[in-house]
């Protein structure tokens, strides 16, 4: 298929899995005839694997608080987007949000709930700009979030339970964005609804509520065939469960 001689660059590209199939086949055929070089590139691959495994823990660690919180005198302090970015990571560290937690068998959805709780803690105290798009632009908010998540999202109506919609924002999930809606009651207590496509159920599984609590924040969460949902608040657990039921009934009505 190719008469181009095998170069050192080809060997690297083979070790790094960057060759198109035709070229890869040619290199592999050549390596079969050159055992010393084969051993060499196998060692390269093995060393790369060992390095990645050993360094994975750094990528997976929670951010140390020192890194994440800008110093008070920092010229960044007025620079809100950066502060918000770092604060998410810092609070993640504080509530034990690490990928190591995520590697336990049952923990993909539990990690999702942890992220929801973190996001709740980060954004609900904000008085000036708690949401990116306010409830007065609800339709635009939903259109935007639906586009980013890749499926239609809705903000459930929670007025019967005493909560009005404040607005929403987009946040980083593990690989794709997630949506956060914020609600507020008459006493300015806030509740957040976190919606993600990254955790979804097999169609066959019935939705069931799970509960987690950390640092005074309660979270009810569940998945259906389209999304994972998490409702977080500092509110009384019973009241929060009522909200969870209301949200579930509106977004994922019983058949």
């Amino acid at each position: 298929m190719t008469s181009q001689p095998i170069s050192e660059a080809d060997l690297h590209a083979w070790a790094d899995e960057r060759l198109a199939p035709a070229r890869r086949a040619a290199v592999e055929a050549w390596l079969a005839d050159h055992p010393d070089d084969h051993a060499r590139v196998d060692d390269w691959r093995r060393d790369a694997r060992l390095l990645r495994r050993a360094l994975a823990q750094v990528a997976e660690q929670a951010m140390p608080p020192r890194l994440a919180l800008p110093a008070p005198q920092s010229r960044l302090a007025p620079f809100a987007p950066m502060a918000a970015l770092l604060l998410v990571a810092a609070v993640g560290a504080g509530v034990g949000w690490t990928a190591r937690d995520r590697t336990a068998a049952r923990s993909t959805i539990d990690a999702f709930a942890q992220r929801a709780a973190v996001a709740h803690v980060v954004y609900t105290p904000d008085m000036r700009r708690p949401v990116e798009v306010g409830a007065e632009q609800e339709q635009q908010l939903l259109t935007w979030l639906s586009k980013r998540l890749g499926d239609g999202v809705e903000a459930p109506a929670l007025q019967p339970l005493g909560y009005r919609l404040v607005g929403g924002r987009l946040l980083p999930g593990e690989h794709h964005p997630v949506a956060q809606f914020m609600y507020e009651d008459a006493q300015a207590h806030r509740l957040t609804l976190y919606v993600s496509r990254e955790v979804r159920a097999d169609a066959a599984e019935p939705a069931r509520f799970r509960f987690a609590s950390a640092e005074g924040v309660h979270t009810f969460y569940w998945v259906d065939g389209r999304f994972g949902y998490a409702i977080s608040a500092e509110a009384d657990k019973t009241r929060l469960l009522e909200v969870a039921h209301a949200v579930h009934d509106q977004l994922d009505p019983p058949k």
Binding site: D43, D47, L51, V58, F79, P81, M82, R169, P172
Partner: protein, 172 residues
Amino acid sequence: MRVDDQVQLLACIPHLRRYARALLADAHLADDLVQDTLERACWKLSFWQRRSGLRAWTFSIMHNLFVDRLRSDRLRAERPLDEAALDMLAAPAQHDRLELRDVDRVLQRLPVEQRSVLLLVAVEELSYEDVARILEIPVGTVMSRLSRAREAMRGRLGSTIEARREPLQRVK
């Protein structure tokens, strides 16, 4: 800052931390470098022309800051290992695994220009073209440094694990 960019910038942080940590063999220095990189990336984001991906762009910023520091001698890449930080960060010793301190020891024996190429290719898995852009060198130079780095490393990591497996038989 656009939300999309904010989301993506957040996702870069673990990669930047990993690369800085491996490059510098010192957790505190690494996090200093990452923090400065993030600050600069936030300020410059409006100027980013999107010729490369965001991650490669943030790595370029980090590389420039790293080089500036090397030049100004505030930071020497070949510092003695920060043992206390390594102890804090290293996972419990497993006898068939490499520890972070093993990686530091082996990597620090490489000249920094080989170390950076090896890490960006083998660990960060960036393309050779992105690595060339980040380090501001031709692709040919990336490949030759990669060759030297891989040959120099060859077998050292594996033999570290072998040595750990049979500590009583290791002869000094």
